[in-house]
């Protein structure tokens, strides 16, 4: 936008047109105090703190040119009254005065007035020390008040707005930042005003109260101590805290966090600004869900099973035992009798070393990062292959971009994406949400579609056909293979046929295809429900991105929402049985988690090492297998159900107690720092793995296989009938056998940068770069404007990896697997719904625990009527695998033909009925008595 020249307090400078006066003055280094204005929200001019004198050049009515005075300067017509700076946009030649007596009189008056109903209880207020009201009063306010303290209106102190947020009504200055945040940014309009005059107050309008996944952010933006979090209430004073930069590992967004510590104790979690990841927000899961770090049930010492009991042992003893037992299994049964499962919440360094140990020492490819349940979905490759292009920044995307969200519920799977997608919408982007059932993102969508349950693949094929009909392959700029096959596959299914299969009108499919083609930038986000349709789904979405030219450039590509904080890292590091780091395909695959359990029972696998996963809690099969196993090592934070079955339990350090890097859904690698000392004797996972490796080398176990070459292979991953070039073209030269003497994780990161394709240049020093500061950074007035929200990111914003097809190194296969006809032997499709607040171990000890639901099965009204089921009835599900009894809910949002159960709840497992990511079930009411 064109710049305009303005004069503030006699200083003339240029600012972009359309800027409001408050921001414009800030550009010139001049502070205008504000309470209600917040740069992320629309100005409302409620608090009157930003009153300034504004004048514009007087125009000659005849010529529309500024009239010039006797001194040759434009005549300025000052507005008769003070104007609110936040709602006044600048114009050419505008003159602004922020320091005149009149303005100062107004500022003092506003502050004196605001303080008449403020209790001045700063000594006990959690905001004290980072409170804009304190700061502005000191800088602009009157020295004293004419208002008698005893005349103040007092309210009963804290009221619970929700479980997590408390409201102190007498401190509130009614700026409506919280209300506007919930309305505009979070789209959870749960807050509102009630009463009027001195009794004007904020209330929660929802049931349960303050029902939002983003409620914690309102405490950050509250300019007074009116909203405080139940988590930090009266824990510490803010000046006692030191902020430690870490990365959130609770979901694939990878929000940048500050762990505010007093000495060695976690006091609160705050967002750290990162425009490319979380802006200045975090969700409640990240904010409140880090109490596991200090939970009293954390493991503190290694445990060894002696005589049927786990007893405390020293590290040396435990590591030596692990090395000895694993070496024994290897020498007697070969390395393939050892399996390793590592959690996707571990860091890249841990995961890399884990697979390195298995591949180099044991020669075993029996690796996985999933628990091995029937519901595990296929490894997601396309999120990396066709991932968003390097340089993608959702903060900068807006007009002319389109986001297609398909089979995903970002609010539950990766909550912060809701805020980021909504911010894109605000800037003019289009949002198409296609799901089998309504999700909360629908309210924001420009187009929302519901396909028939289980027909997402047909929907995407319809889209592909519509795109292909319109532009053919003219936008396909990638090296590719299988175009003819694609042409043939697509010709089998017309848009109309696809429309019939998926229940979305053909013209809607065409319109979405058209919109996707017209958009300059296109993102395709898919989540758990899409991935549960099988690998064909991500493959089809990849082809859709390729055909529409929405790949290999900034702002375009696929975003896969995978479970856990670092699933992408686990895939990149090759913690899977069928590929090495960098998706280098193996000609001979090992056993995945799902195959490990029967193999353990049959004795083909003798020993298993589980790092950070708890399969025994969910899977009866895993429990039986672990009981049958010869030797089980578990590396964990807690004594989980799996750890209780182990022969050796090794206490691992949590994310706060170690350094590491994590790769998020957009393939941005971010570095997390150590925030506190190790818990007890817990050690970082990479040290544990290295410790075992060192003991193994003392036992002089020969390195099992030459790892010097990646197998040249055109064999597809898992034999799924499709070639993915990386194995052919990515030559990894692995150097001399490693010595296993890493001193710091940065040394492992350096090795990863050297050896893992795509990670070149991802060193710790490179990750520390902060790039351009955000809007927040260190700047004029920030402490006064945004105190409590100025989370300067001085520790690095991370680096986005290029996707694998960037640079045309890899040919993309366009061949699609045929559309399978869904079987309908049972009446309902059992879909597991990912929830943000589920049985994740990491939520232990947090206030979110009470928001974890009890197990239930949700049905549509139609099905409930048909089966004569009322809410609360006990029902029995039966599938080809088994039976399960649950209580029923009847929910409007569930489409007919679907039985929805929450995934991963504590003390509940649907494994009894699951035959795959999706299961056909019958459902009958259980009549008791």
């Amino acid at each position: 936008m064109a710049d305009v020249t303005i004069t503030v307090n006699g200083v003339t400078f240029r600012v972009p047109a359309g800027t409001n006066v408050v921001d414009a003055a800030r550009i010139g280094g001049i502070s205008i105090p504000v309470f209600c204005y917040h740069p992320r929200m629309k100005p409302v001019g409620m608090c009157r703190m930003c009153l300034v004198q504004v004048g514009t050049p007087r125009l000659d009515p005849a010529t529309r040119q500024p009239m010039l005075g006797e001194d040759g300067r434009p005549v300025i017509a000052m507005m008769p009254k003070l104007q609110t700076g936040c709602t006044t946009p600048v114009s050419e030649g505008m003159v602004i005065n922020t320091e005149s007596d009149e303005v100062q009189f107004a500022q003092k008056g506003v502050l004196e007035f605001l303080l008449t109903s403020h209790p001045l209880d700063c000594p006990v207020c959690d905001k004290g020390g980072e409170c804009p009201l304190q700061n502005l009063t000191m800088a602009w306010g009157p020295g004293n008040s004419r208002f008698d303290y005893n005349d103040k209106v007092h309210f009963e102190k804290p009221v619970h707005l929700g479980d997590l947020i408390l409201l102190d009504r007498e401190r509130c200055i009614l700026c409506a930042r919280c209300v506007r945040f919930q309305d505009e940014l979070a789209d959870d309009p749960v807050l509102g005003f009630d009463n009027r005059g001195r009794n004007w107050m904020i209330i929660s309008k929802s049931d349960p109260p303050f029902d939002s996944k983003f409620s914690g952010n309102t405490t950050d933006i509250c300019p007074v101590g009116a909203l405080t979090s139940a988590d930090f209430r009266f824990k510490a004073r803010v000046w006692e805290l030191s902020s430690k930069p870490v990365v959130c590992t609770l979901c694939p967004v990878g929000c940048n966090l500050s762990l505010d510590m007093r000495y060695d104790q976690l006091m609160r979690v705050m967002p750290r600004e990162n425009g490319a990841v979380n802006d200045i927000w975090i969700c409640d899961k990240g904010r409140f869900g880090h109490r596991f770090i200090e939970h009293e049930s954390r493991l503190t010492t290694p445990l060894i099973r002696k005589g049927g009991h786990l007893v405390e042992a020293s590290w040396d003893e435990a590591l030596a035992l692990v090395a000895e037992k694993l070496a024994a299994v290897q020498s007697s049964r070969g390395g393939s009798a050892i399996a390793g499962l590592a959690s996707p919440r571990l860091s890249n360094e841990d995961l890399y070393l884990f697979q390195k140990l298995f591949r180099e020492y044991f020669g075993s490819h029996n690796l996985d990062h999933m628990p091995g349940s029937a519901a595990d979905v296929d490894y997601d490759e396309h999120g990396a292959l066709m991932g968003v292009g390097k340089g993608t920044n959702l903060m900068e995307m807006g007009a002319e971009s389109l986001v297609l969200v398909i089979g995903a519920d970002p609010e539950e799977e990766a909550p912060l994406y809701v805020l980021r997608l909504r911010a894109m919408l605000e800037r003019g982007a289009k949002l198409v949400v296609a799901n089998m059932r309504p999700t909360k993102l629908d309210r924001s969508a420009t187009t929302r579609l519901y396909y028939q349950p289980g027909s997402e693949l047909a929907f995407v094929r319809g889209l592909l056909r519509a795109v292909f009909d319109r532009v053919g392959h003219e936008r396909l700029h990638l090296k590719h293979s299988g175009l003819e096959q694609l042409r043939k596959t697509l010709s089998d299914l017309s848009v109309e046929q696809a429309a019939e299969l998926c229940g979305v009108p053909a013209e809607t499919i065409r319109a979405v295809a058209q919109a996707l083609l017209e958009a300059k930038q296109g993102l395709i986000m898919y989540g758990a429900e899409a991935r549960s349709a099988g690998a064909g789904m991500s493959e089809s979405l990849g082809v859709l991105a390729a055909l529409t030219g929405k790949v290999g450039k900034p702002g375009s590509g696929l975003i896969a929402l995978l479970p856990g904080g670092n699933s992408r890292g686990a895939l990149d590091m090759g913690v899977r049985p069928d590929a090495r780091p960098g998706y280098a395909v193996l000609s001979q695959r090992g056993l995945g988690a799902r195959e490990v359990w029967p193999a353990l029972r049959e004795g083909r696998v003798k020993a298993v090492w589980i790092a950070g996963l708890d399969p025994a809690a969910q899977l009866p099969a895993a429990r039986a297998a672990l009981e049958a196993a010869d030797f089980v090592v578990v590396q964990e934070l807690f004594l989980t159900a799996t750890a209780k079955l182990a022969d050796v339990v090794l206490p691992a350090a949590s994310v706060a107690e170690r350094e590491g890097t994590y790769t998020n859904a957009e393939r941005r690698v971010q570095r997390s720092r150590q925030a506190r000392q190790a818990h007890g004797e817990a050690r970082p996972d990479w040290q544990i793995i290295q410790g075992v490796a060192q003991h193994l080398s003392e036992l002089s176990v020969p390195v099992a296989v030459p790892t010097q070459r990646v197998e040249e292979s055109s064999q597809p991953v898992g034999g799924k009938g499709k070639s993915k070039g990386p194995g052919k073209t990515t030559a990894v030269t692995v150097a001399e056998p490693s010595t296993w003497d890493y001193l710091t994780p940065s040394e492992i990161a350096a090795e990863i940068a050297e050896r893992v394709p795509g990670y070149a240049g991802i060193t710790y020093s490179a990750l520390a770069a902060t790039g351009q500061g955000g809007d927040w950074g260190r700047q004029t007035n920030e402490a006064i404007f945004y105190d409590g929200t100025n989370y300067e990111n001085s520790e690095g914003i991370g680096i986005q990896l290029p996707n694998l097809i960037e640079g045309q190194k890899t040919a993309v296969s366009l061949g699609l697997r045929p559309l399978s006809k869904p079987a309908h032997e049972r009446s309902l499709l059992l879909v597991s719904q990912s929830l943000a607040y589920d049985g994740d171990l990491l939520l232990r000890g947090s206030l979110l625990e009470r928001q974890i639901p009890q197990p239930y099965v949700a049905l549509s009204q139609t099905d409930a009527d048909k089966l004569n089921i009322k809410p609360g009835d006990t029902v029995r599900l039966d599938s080809a695998a088994g039976e399960l009894t649950l209580s029923a809910r009847v929910v409007d949002d569930v489409p007919a033909g679907v039985a929805l159960i929450p995934a991963n709840l504590p003390n509940f497992s649907a494994a009894a009925v699951q035959t795959g990511p999706r299961t056909r079930v019958n459902l009958v009411k259980v009549v008791t008595g």
Partner: protein, 165 residues
């Protein structure tokens, strides 16, 4: 010669017959001045409620970083002080303390006062940390009434920043 000796010792002999200034500490203890800054005490109101509201301003003011306050929330069943907040932990490291009295100045409720006790010696460094139990005056030795604003309302109001107690 002898005359010169006597001359030299005149002052000495003179003092033989005056009252000595030294006292036989520890048998005899010299009273300190009213504004002497000795060991701290945590005060109470006359009704026994603690004056300390756990605001940590003493710790913030302390130039020697000798004070640790860990606050907690009052509940209706466990009302330690007036208002919402009290000090669950209050510790002063007497080896660090320089007895400057800034904590006293910073205290919004006159809860911490440097009193006249000066006998602070320890065999162990750990003993130099005085805990809340050691610092707090007995329950029946409180003084002053809580400001009406705090007591008259059944609303757990908090003490304001500046109030004359």
């Amino acid at each position: 010669m002898i005359g010169q000796l006597l001359k030299g010792l005149r002052t000495t002999f003179g003092y033989i017959f005056t009252q000595p200034v030294t006292v036989q500490y520890p048998e005899v203890k010299r009273p300190v001045r009213e504004r002497f800054r000795g060991r701290h005490e945590l005060k109470r109101f006359a009704d026994g409620k603690e004056r300390c509201i756990g605001c940590s301003l003493c710790a913030a003011a302390c130039p020697a970083d000798a004070i640790l306050v860990v606050p907690a929330e009052n509940t209706p069943d466990h009302q330690v002080s007036y208002g919402e907040r009290y000090a669950a932990t209050y510790e002063i490291n007497m080896l660090r303390c320089i007895f400057c009295g800034y904590c006293e100045d910073a205290c919004p409720t006159n809860a911490i006062v440097l009193e006249h006790q000066y006998e602070l010696s320890f065999y162990d460094r750990r003993d130099s940390i005085y805990t809340k139990e050691m610092l707090l005056v007995p329950e029946d030795q409180g003084h002053g009434d809580a400001p009406p604003i705090l007591t008259q309302l059944e609303r757990r109001p908090s003490p304001p920043a500046q109030i004359d107690l």
